[in-house]
């Protein structure tokens, strides 16, 4: 039963130098609903929630909370008003215990001292509400990302929140963890809380939300009940143009006699992966499917020398190569876009130009520098080619949106013209338009004869793009299937049952 509006925003406009980030946007949130906020990167989702929690100041418009106008000056004030936000990157202290994280800054006191037993008892109570039976005195870093996320939510919820904002909470969770999160969200909804949910996963929107609001380029497209709008219409509304592109992608055409570009025989790192073999033909795209932790990333890291293979052999283009470090892999003309873009990919404080030229330059060695002009030409070429949204190549890479950062990393490796390109979750956490573009680029590179390994948790994009699919489970390859003839059900069955 839809409740009354607890939050109403009318005619919100926020201007940043040069751009209107939000232009007259209306938004309302009811008691006891999960409301998805949708839009491409840069559409204004983050700006809108930052306006609610007081990080950004609005230039005009009104925000009503329970009918009273509010004007929070920062997250703390918003929090006392009952608006809690869990950000995309978990803002907690990994070295403090789960309980400490939940209560940091507002520890219950007893006779002038922190009441630890009370903290631990209440933390346990909160976590058990989420069906998590864990030792809350252990440091947060001991637990998985999902538990960390729950901790952040527990912290947000415990401050008597009326409104909970979840910004991309699922981008680093696996399927089971997502389900756990959803059950917590539903539970909170049923207790009357209004939840604003931001995600890039369309399936999740349909799985959990009641209503959705779509933004595009700072404008409101509309607010819909979840059963009012199909997936295709939704994407079309988000992007503002027909999404035929994504459905017209064709997998690479690899002749059966194409030469083998990469061959790994019985490689293992001595701890996580024991025995992995793989061949990759010229121009072929091989998808890696499997759950998080199934060994996909570990295999990729070994192939690139990010972790050392202690046994087994790797051949690139027919030649046996010794890959002990990423430097060796780059010399062998491999390239690798790592899973954690922020930690291992983008060099945030350096410019787009410097980020793009890095792999080319490191292959040349520092004694053979590229001139600034060469770097700029290189960067400009890829900015145009990949459609990176930036005024110029001197902007700091860290200031770009997720999708554009991913394009910068792709550009870094495309510039190095590799023979083998390994992409670990290149489409995670980026919007659907950019996703389609990255898939298109990937396939274009296959067309030019680059061999690609594509790791993704989203089976539909793996099936759409791959020639062959390697299915991993429990840190080993369990099956290899043909990309053209298999279905999601086939793959899920193999992942679940462990055999072809």
């Amino acid at each position: 039963m839809p409740g009354k509006n607890i939050l109403e925003m009318r005619g919100i406009t926020i201007e940043f130098p040069g751009v209107k980030a939000l232009d007259g946007v209306d938004f309302s949130l009811r008691e006891g609903e999960i409301h998805s906020l949708l839009g491409e990167n840069g559409a204004g989702k983050s700006t809108l929630i930052k306006c609610i929690n007081g990080v950004n100041r609005k230039d005009s418009g009104t925000i009503l909370l329970d009918g009273h106008e509010i004007n929070p000056s920062g997250p703390n004030e918003a929090m006392t008003l009952g608006i809690s936000t869990v950000f995309q990157e978990v803002n907690l202290c990994p070295n403090l215990s789960v309980a400490e994280n939940i209560f940091v800054g507002r520890q219950p006191m007893k006779r002038g001292q922190i009441d630890w037993s009370e903290i631990n008892r209440r933390a346990e109570e909160l976590m058990s509400r989420f069906h998590l039976d864990i030792d809350v005195t252990r440091p947060l870093s001991y637990y998985s990302t999902a538990v960390q996320q729950m901790t952040a939510i527990a912290r947000a919820v415990d401050v008597q929140a009326k409104i909970l904002i979840l910004d991309e909470p699922t981008s680093s969770l696996d399927e089971n963890e997502v389900q756990l999160l959803f059950s917590v969200m539903r539970q909170l909804r049923d207790s009357g809380m209004g939840i604003i949910f931001i995600t890039h996963f369309l399936d999740q929107i349909y799985a959990v939300s009641d209503r959705m609001t779509i933004l595009r380029n700072g404008h409101l497209v509309g607010t819909y009940n979840i059963d009012e709008l199909g997936k295709f219409e939704l994407v079309t509304k988000m992007v503002g143009k027909d999404m035929d592109v994504i459905f017209s992608l064709k997998r690479a055409n690899v002749p059966p006699d194409a030469p083998v570009m990469l061959k790994a025989e019985h490689i293992g790192d001595g701890s996580r992966i024991d025995d992995m073999s793989l061949t990759l033909r010229k121009g072929e795209l091989v998808g890696f499917a499997g759950l998080l932790g199934s060994g996909r990333t570990e295999t990729a890291e070994m192939l690139f020398g990010a972790t050392r293979a202690v046994h087994g052999e790797i051949f690139v283009d027919g030649e046996k190569v010794s890959i002990r470090t990423p430097f060796d892999a780059i010399q062998a003309e491999e390239a690798f876009c790592p899973e954690d873009r922020k930690r291992d990919g983008i060099i945030g404080d350096l410019s787009i130009r410097e980020n793009i030229m890095l792999a080319v330059q490191s292959r040349k060695g520092f004694m053979h520098p590229m001139t600034k002009q060469e770097q700029t030409e290189l960067a400009d070429k890829y900015i145009a080619l990949l459609g990176i949204a930036t005024p110029d190549c001197e902007k700091k890479a860290g200031e770009l949106s997720g999708g554009n950062q991913q394009k910068v990393i792709l550009a870094r490796w495309m510039a190095a013209s590799p023979k083998v390109l390994i992409l670990d979750e290149p489409t995670r956490g980026i919007d659907i338009g950019a996703k389609a573009e990255i898939q298109r680029l990937m396939l274009e590179m296959c067309g030019e004869g680059v061999s690609v390994i594509f790791i993704s948790s989203e089976l539909d994009e793996i099936i759409r793009c791959s020639n062959r699919i390697v299915i991993m489970r429990d840190r080993a390859k369990v099956a290899e299937v043909d990309g053209a003839s298999c279905t999601q059900q086939d793959i899920l069955r193999i992942i679940a049952e462990g055999a072809a």
Partner: protein
């Protein structure tokens, strides 16, 4: 026109700009108190230029040279605490080779026991190796730079003591005197050495991709490694360079006093060098560095000290006075202040346009 206005706002954002402004203000105060502060005179008898400004640059030589290396270390996100101790080590080794056995060569004079080339080369090689040792602990041992370099900071002076049997040697060897007290092109030798070092480091970092690699490793070591940069080698090289530069500074220092002083040579140099780098606008968290900014930073520190001497402020108050001015400089450079002035500059530009 609009572009130019924007540039002013950009300049106001830059820490280097504020360092230059601070230096100019300090000099202006000097000039107002003593109009002859800026006068430079030529002394035909020694063939050298004299004046407060020359003196500031001359006396800042050691810190400027060391802080060139420190800039790179800080750009990597670290600090090197051992530089002051290495100054003492370099001096001790040089004097050891000049005098060797004081019981045999009892009186100091215009001689050297071992060839002059060893007097110069051995301290530099030893300091470079000590820098390499620091780098090894950091790059291969994964020890935090501040801890790794603490080792040599503490034991470096001990090594210097052992080398000279705890004694303070003096020498009168004239080629050695040239390093700290000689002149070239009418300028004191330390200034010439400083210019060479600054130019060499600038060319090495900016005319090769080394500077970009240092910045990249400083911002994100993991991503840099995965982009093929040999982060370990970069770290080793940076610490080795810093060690070598500390050695050069050590030779200048001991040539000025024509002696070794294991207790006081290079004392607190690490703090001055770090300060010079920070005033120069390089972030302690690592990343983008500015060698020009560091030079200005070093000059500011020395200008303050000269100011104190010149205007007869009591010696006891020197440190407090120095701290006071540095506090003002750092506040001027702080984010809110820079943003405030940048905003004002931008607004003015807008109104006029």
């Amino acid at each position: 026109m609009a572009g130019k206005r924007f540039d002013i706002a950009g300049l106001m954002q830059s820490k280097v700009t504020w360092a230059v402004i601070a230096e100019a203000l300090i000099l202006l105060v000097c000039f107002m108190i003593r109009p002859d502060f800026f006068s430079i005179s030529y002394q035909p008898s020694t063939g050298m230029l004299y004046g407060s400004l020359i003196d500031i640059v001359n006396r800042s030589a050691e810190i400027t040279i060391i802080s060139m290396g420190m800039t790179l270390v800080i750009a990597l996100g670290g600090t090197d605490l051992s530089v002051g101790a290495l100054v003492a080590v370099a001096g001790a080794i040089a004097l050891k080779f000049l005098r060797w056995d004081v019981l045999t060569y009892t009186t100091p004079g215009d001689y050297t026991v071992y060839p002059y080339i060893l007097v110069i080369a051995v301290p530099l090689v030893v300091c470079a190796l000590m820098g390499l040792f620091n780098g090894f602990l950091v790059a291969k041992g994964g020890i935090q730079p501040i801890i790794a370099t603490l080792i040599l900071m503490v034991c470096g002076r001990g090594v210097a003591q052992i080398l000279t049997d705890g004694k303070q040697f003096t020498t009168g060897y004239s080629p050695f005197r040239v390093i700290g007290q000689g002149s070239f092109l009418c300028l004191p030798m330390p200034i010439i050495i400083t210019v060479i070092v600054v130019v060499a480091v600038a060319l090495f970092t900016r005319r090769t991709a080394f500077g970009a690699f240092v910045e990249s490793v400083g911002v994100n070591p993991s991503a840099s490694r995965l982009s093929g940069i040999k982060a370990g080698s970069v770290i080793l090289l940076v610490f080795m360079i810093t060690g070598l530069l500390s050695g050069i500074a050590g030779l200048i220092y001991s040539s000025r006093i024509m002696s070794n002083d294991s207790n006081n040579a290079g004392l607190n140099f690490e703090m001055d060098a770090i300060l010079a780098v920070v005033i120069g606008g390089t972030n302690m968290a690592g990343g983008k560095f500015s060698l020009a900014g560091t030079v200005v930073g070093s000059l500011i520190i020395r200008t303050i000290v000269t100011f104190v001497y010149y205007f007869g402020i009591v010696a006891e108050a020197t440190m407090a006075f120095k701290a006071l001015i540095i506090a003002v400089v750092i506040v001027l450079q702080s984010e809110p202040v820079r943003k405030y002035f940048a905003r004002r500059a931008a607004m003015k530009g807008g109104v006029r346009a």
